[in-house]
Amino acid sequence: MSIEERLLAVFRGVFGADLPPLADQTSPETLGGWDSAKHLSLIMALEAEFCVEFDTDEIAELTTVGAIRQRLE
């Protein structure tokens, strides 16, 4: 699977299968359900999927799909 497909799978897992298309600007403001608890779930799911570990500051900054894409590439 490509990075993009894996990223989509993680978002679907965290936010549900009926997810709107992901854009770089997608953020807690535009995506329903992306609250602080879900954000931590998302971060943990991303770490497990991509075998990375974000430091505490990064966790707070990775709040758009664009920032996440950039960090994973």
């Binding site: 799978a9 993680v10 679907r12 897992g13 965290v14 549900g16 299968a17 602080s36 608890a37 931590l40 779930s41 943990m44 799911a45 770490e47 497990a48 999927e49 430091d55 505490t56 966790i59 707070a60």
Partner: protein, 618 residues
Amino acid sequence: MSDLTTRIGQLRSGALEELKPAQALELARLIREGGESCGLKPLRVAFLSSCSLEFGDPYLTIEGARRGLGLDIYHGPFAQFEQEVADPDSGLARFAPDVLILVMRPEDIDPDAVHRYYASDGRRFGELSQNVIDRIASCLRRFRSGSRAPVLVANFAAPSEAPLGVFDANVGGSLTYALAESNLRLREAVAGIPEAFVWDYCGLVVSQGAADWTDRRLMALARVPVSSRRQPVLARHLAQTICGVLRPPAKCLVLDLDNTLWGGVIGDDGLEGIQLGDDHPGLAYKSFQRAVLGLRDRGILLAVASKNDLDPAKQAFTTHPEMLIRWDDLAAVRIDWEPKSENLRQIAAELNLGADALAFFDDNPVEREEVRINAPDIRVIEVPRDPLRWVSTLAECGEFDAVGLTQEDRSRGDLYRDERGRRLLEGRSGSLEEFLESLEMRAAVGRVDSSTLPRLVQLLAKTNQFNLTTRRHGAAEVESMARCPDQVVSWLRLRDRYGDAGLVAVGILRREGEVAVIDTFLMSCRVMGRCVEQALLARLADEAHQLGCTRLLGDYLPTAKNGVVETFYPDHGFEPRGDLPGGGSRYQLDLRVASVEWPEFIRREDREAPARPSARTP
């Protein structure tokens, strides 16, 4: 929906072991939405906690589904214990949980008392832990006044960094020991409340490793005390504990033989060919046998269901030097070529257990599936391929988790062993006659003397069922009867191929002219159904002859417990002689025209044979 049914099926059969977090979240959501229509049994689980445990909900939902439960989970407001249990309008009260989980961590309440342990030489921690225990006890009492739901209380785990570092356990009074001591006090407090149990959170953290347990980022950002990686094992442990409290444990472990108790196939590889010993690969099987015996030690019965020929399989038990489980350890055995589901049902019947009291362990997935389909009540343990993992499998399957342990549990295996041989033969023999014959019974009869008096009086005092008149003669009375020339006090002692059953039957005769009246006729119910009573009756007829009597007279005096002998006399050829004024019936055998035959399956031993003392009770 059918997709979800399939995935829940995979969960239950162990096919879905490792899920990535995103997959787990998705599956948990599907279970929450559609689990009930997939046959999951709803269960309401509430948490009151000093930290944030919501993060574990998806994993707990999955582990619940794995065990057939559809969990509805409630988290009380952060660190509000007293308010939640006391307020009749609280979220907890309205949720009305089936199970309550209490997690009150000392380090959440007062971090300094833990992390600056030596600021007060541990005194502050001692006060803190006592305060936490008191709060927990008071919450439990309060909750119990309004709910019968079981409560699990997490015990205290050590932080990953102890105040004295790697040497904390070297110093008396250190945090390591203060925590252990607090956990003892917590256990005592919890044991005082009905249906309250310790959830061994401390043991879980130790077994998984405290260092990796907490993710400092999750703790800092959201007060989540358990790392994402450890959430699945946390959920598994908690779900297993919940199920252990809600569901009675299995009472019997039924084992396969080939490639389960030893490596290889005994019928093909022979005694020398099977793998069993202290080196790889035999070690895995020997360790497994040791774990199985550990279950027997605490009251789980062991049984075998194997597709094999009996002789070589039995030989492995009796002659293989590395075999830890002995043939005698088995409460029931089915070694033949019948379907396992059928043999498991027979084992349940033989041991007088429901099918759901049996847990089945077989390396062969085909056999497991056959049992799942044809005997769905039986608990089929999912067995991983590598036998080295089986010791953990027995512990983690949860089927044997019991919240208490009694002395009776510990000796149950032995109690069943003595009866097994007889039942085994009964099961295999074609007819009752063959069964009775195969027991190789030998009976001795005689008159009471000082050596037999105590046991005889004990039987008179205790025997309720097989007792025609229930007359509780005491020792002095029996001694005076024995001295009287018109009375005879007789006993019968039984042995069979399995051992000495001891003195098991008593008959007392009294001469009244030409009539010999049976004052007492009783038998221990342990030997019922084996024609022993007929042997004693034949003996009494002999004694009546010797007293010069021509008729034998017997009364049946009914009690609440002796209905089993209501037709005893007519069954043995006695004629009815009418009802007795106080209730009961009288029967007579005319010894001039009728007799009582000594039963053909019992060999009569010399009357003077030395009687071994027996301490057995009826």
